[in-house]
Structure formats: structure tokens, C-alpha cells
Symmetry: C2
Subunit: 223 residues, 2 copies
Amino acid sequence: MRGESSGSMHRGGGVSEATVRRLSNYFRILEEMEREGVETIASETLAERYGITSAQVRKDFSSFGSFGRRGLGYPVRGLRERIGKILGIDQPWRLVLVGAGNLGHALFHYEEFRRRNFSIAAIFDSNPELIGKHWEGVPILPMAQMGRLVSERDARIGIIAVPAAAGQAVADQLVAAGVEGILNFSPIKLREVENVFVRNVNLSIALESLSYSVTAHRKLRPL
Amino acid sequence: MRGESSGSMHRGGGVSEATVRRLSNYFRILEEMEREGVETIASETLAERYGITSAQVRKDFSSFGSFGRRGLGYPVRGLRERIGKILGIDQPWRLVLVGAGNLGHALFHYEEFRRRNFSIAAIFDSNPELIGKHWEGVPILPMAQMGRLVSERDARIGIIAVPAAAGQAVADQLVAAGVEGILNFSPIKLREVENVFVRNVNLSIALESLSYSVTAHRKLRPL
DNA sequence: AGATGTGAAAGTTTTCACAGCC
DNA sequence: GGCTGTGAAAACTTTCACATCT
């Protein structure tokens, strides 16, 4: 599977992972501005709100074409829609969730996913005690049904929320079932597979990065 | 607060966020090798296991000094201990968790945190119905007790697992209570504060990065 | 005048390649 | 011989600065 980096070219220029992450953030800021009733925005204003430079904002947009009007700025709504289209969040996505433990439960109920048009079509778990239950009407199914369900419901992304030991096997099953992307919460490095994108979210590594910074900072300024 | 980047210099050379993330991964690989009984490892082997170049591995280590022996490689155990010390995970950390919803619940029970010496000393929530309950003996307390508890229990990191609307207020309270680091799961940009490090984990942005890649890939190779 | 879009410059990170030590 | 540690080169990302368009 393709690793942490984007892995895909687009038009003329390659688009970095960092650019895509910023697009998501621009999208959120633009939504907010739309609610505030703002109709036009300059790269400078957007940049200030985000805490980056206006050149960065313009360069990010320029990888995808020309959105603004010189002398005026960008139309808030049009820009938001365009970014949504680029990110692919202008359409609903059906996902499957593997792992009905504590983390899976939290992800299933995560409001931000719903707001962004991501809906979970089925949940899979290997624990027989959970199978047959429903969360808000969505069934918890045995792993063996993954292949059927992914194609029937046209789910294109799978979320892995199982312990490390089961992670690779689950990834293999998701790939066999035909997903095109995997959001992996299990703390392991998955084998790469052609045409399947992977993003890893490692909660513990984020915390270790903090403990590093706090520790290093303390060493510089003791007590 | 310091943003997504490290924000702190260390010794002679600045150490990038990316290097610190890789250190966490090296640590995990080394733990695994220790369990396998391997005593010495070459940068090349470590690199292969991680899927990066051996030069990257050696450069990462060289920011912190000289760990290996030319012609031989690195002692697995010694290297793992040294990295643990750099990351600050050689000692236990006490955290406070704010937000006893679904996400907070999942984080509280997250095994990987415990395995890495991160323990949650108290939970805070604004919902009166939750206050007074316990999770595995850890009390859910009203927000007003945050200051007292953080200093009493010497908690140095706070986790924010509340909805966006409450995020900034919670961050302010954590800073006032005296934490040195914040792991922020709420999908907002927190105001920066001197000497407080912040790491943001935005679950939805990770998913949007996937939907971008899958969408872009489809456009290149339709159907 | 005002703000975009973009080549060129500056800065950062990764890879190369090899001197130096075991 | 084997493998580290590290300057130098290459690749990539961000910022500058200005020509260009409304």
C-alpha cells in the first residue's frame, strides 16, 4: 500500500501531503466565513486566520488552477466548493469500520465524520459476542462478510481500529474486499499494496512527540 | 502555544518533528527485535524494516550523538534505551484527560498509552451527570478542580477530547492549571502560548487526505 | 490601486558517497 | 571487510517579489 505520502500526481505539478492537509483547513475556515456572511476573501486574510503566509495560500491553490480574481480576492463560497471537490468531500463516502472496541465505538460516533459526509455502512469484529448487535441501526458483522458487504454497499474506505496483533490481517482482508483506502489506527506499519492508499494515525506517537518536546524544553531550562 | 512543529532547539542541531516521529518508530522496532533476541542491528536492517533509507536512520541518530560501533552496528537494547530517554518515555507521565465522551473513553482505555508509561490521573467533564463516576478507579471531576489536581498530581500533559466549541476554553484552563503540553483532539486551531507545546490530532483531516488520494487516483484511471 | 499567480531565492529535509574506525 | 558518522549534493517546500490582470 502507498505509505504516508500522497502517492498520486495531479495535473502538472505533484501535490504534497502538506498541501492537502492545508486544503482541509482552508475548507473549515471558509465554512466558518460563509456562516459569518463574508462573500469575498483575500489570501492575506485567510493566511492570517490560519497562521501561515499568504504566499503559501496562493501556491497551494495554484497547484489546482486559478480560483481568484486579481484585485479582488476569492469568492468564499466558490472557493469552498472547489476545495471540497478537490478533496472529494463534495460527495458522500461509505466506509466500513473494523473493530468494535472502545476506539471503534468512538470513531463510529465521531460527529466530524458525519458532518463531512463520511458514513459508516457496516462494522466488523471477530468477537462473537458483539456480532449481531447494532449501533444506531448499523450491524456488527463477522469478518467473513467483509467482501460481500464492501462490494454490495460500494464502500471504498476501511478504518482499522483493532489491536496491533490483528492489524495486518485486517488490512489484507480489506484489500481483498476491494477498498481503495485505509485509515489505520493500529500501531503497526502495513505492507504496501499497489493502488490502495493508507493513512496512519498513531495516537501514541503524537503523545511521544509531546513528551519529547516537554523533556527537551525542561533540559534547556531546568525546573 | 507552539504549533504543529517542534518549537524547541536541542543541543547543536535543531531536530525536526519528522525525526522525532521516526524515533518513536525505531523504538517500537527495537522493542520487537529485543523480544526476538537480536542483540546488534545495522542501520540498513532497521531501515529496511521501517521502509526508509539507512542514511536517514544514521542521520536521525547523529543529531543526538554517536550510538553505534563502526563495522558492527548498534546494540539493540542500548539504542532502545537511549531513544526512550530522548523521547522522555523512560519515565512515567501523568496526564489529565478533559472530555469523558466517546473519544475520551476510548483514549482512557487505549492500551498503547499504558504500555508507554502514560497514565491518566484524572478526568474532567462539564456534564454534571458524569461527575462523581469513576473509570477503573479514576474519578471524573468538575472542571473547576483542574488547577488543584494538576499541581497535586504533578500532571504535565493534558488531553483535549471535547467538541470544537469547547476546545479553546479547555485549552485555556489547562494552561492556567499549569500543563506543559497539550494533545488536542478537537478540530480547532488553538491560540499559541509561550512554553506550552501542542500536538493536534485531527481524525477527520486524515480521512479527507484519503478521500483526496482516492478521488485523484480515480480521475487518472477512470473506473 | 489592489490582489492574484508564479518564477526565482531561500530554507529545509533526504539521499549520496566516502573517510574513518572497529 | 563491514558499517558508522557526516560533509556535500539532490530533492523538496516555503517565502519573496513582481509582472499581470481586474
